[in-house]
């Protein structure tokens, strides 16, 4: 378990370093590798954030699918907000609803709630145990299961393939 979080944080740090320097010189590569290894050794002794991550090819495929779904939803949400802002009657019907999530690992939950915030008309306010409280700009249903179906399910299905 410890080795996995070491490898994941090493890869993330290395990618950030490569993007920052944007060069593949041997000197840069060695410096980056050494610094990333030291940092992940020092900081990842007890970190549990990558615990639920699955490291297999299917997870990678679903990550890419997820990125496309996410970008599509982001554009849709912006057009939605633009439509509401521009129409003279201001067609909103706001309210705070409660939904349930089945995801367990903290990283998966963070990705889920961030995605909810960036998609059409929803804003995560708080999370208590398995309940997420969401401010919804156009409330279609205050019922817990129905709201869960409408807001959470489309992301949760994909994220549950990437994380346990």
């Amino acid at each position: 378990m410890k080795l996995k979080s070491f490898i994941v944080s090493f890869i993330i740090l290395m990618i950030v370093w490569l993007l920052l320097t944007s060069s593949f010189d041997l000197a840069y590569l060695i410096t980056g590798a050494v610094v990333s290894a030291i940092l992940s050794l020092l900081l990842c002794k007890r970190c549990t954030i990558f615990k639920g991550m699955k490291l297999n090819p299917m997870a990678l495929v679903y990550t890419i699918i997820y990125l496309f779904v996410f970008i599509f939803e982001l554009i849709k949400s912006n057009l939605d907000v633009a439509r509401r802002v521009l129409s003279p009657s201001l067609p909103i019907n706001p309210g705070i609803v409660e939904v349930k999530t089945t995801l367990k690992s903290p990283m998966a939950r963070m990705i889920l709630t961030n995605s909810i915030t960036l998609t059409p008309g929803t804003l995560t306010i708080d999370m208590v145990d398995d309940s997420i409280f969401i401010h919804w700009i156009d409330v279609k249903s205050t019922d817990k299961t129905e709201a869960t179906e409408k807001i959470v399910k489309r992301f949760e299905n994909i994220i549950s393939k990437i994380y346990d």
């Binding site: 993007l19 633009a82 909103i92 309210g95 995560t124």
Partner: protein, 119 residues
């Protein structure tokens, strides 16, 4: 080279249009939570489009701009969530058009349960 620059300029323009719509939303929406909604979404896509436009105009910067985009996608929703939660905890009222507030009901139920235990 010329065409790339023109396409980049148009994408930059569309990004600034989205940011403008977001700021219009800040003025028009009735309460804090709806304003945060308009602000977060428009500023995220607006910034991403601007970065894409800049990347097309000066292709040698793409890696650093990609890094910026990743940080914006990760941090923007977190900050708006914290703002919304803080304003709810500070007791800022929702607008009159609000139809339900499950969070307030939940907090009240919790408080009553705690008082029940004390007495």
């Amino acid at each position: 080279m010329e065409t790339l620059e023109i396409i980049g300029a148009f994408i930059l323009l569309s990004g600034s249009i989205f940011i403008f719509l977001g700021s219009l939303g800040l003025v028009r929406m009735p309460d804090v939570y709806n304003r945060i909604q308009a602000g977060t979404k428009a500023s995220t896509l607006g910034t991403l489009l601007s970065l894409t436009g800049i990347a097309l105009m000066t292709p040698s910067w793409w890696s650093r701009l990609l890094l910026l985009a990743i940080f914006i996608i990760i941090t923007n929703p977190v900050s708006s969530h914290v703002l919304a939660r803080a304003s709810h905890k500070a007791g800022i009222k929702l607008s009159k058009r609000t139809v339900s507030d499950k969070y307030k009901a939940y907090n009240q139920a919790k408080e009553e349960a705690e008082h029940g235990n004390e007495s």
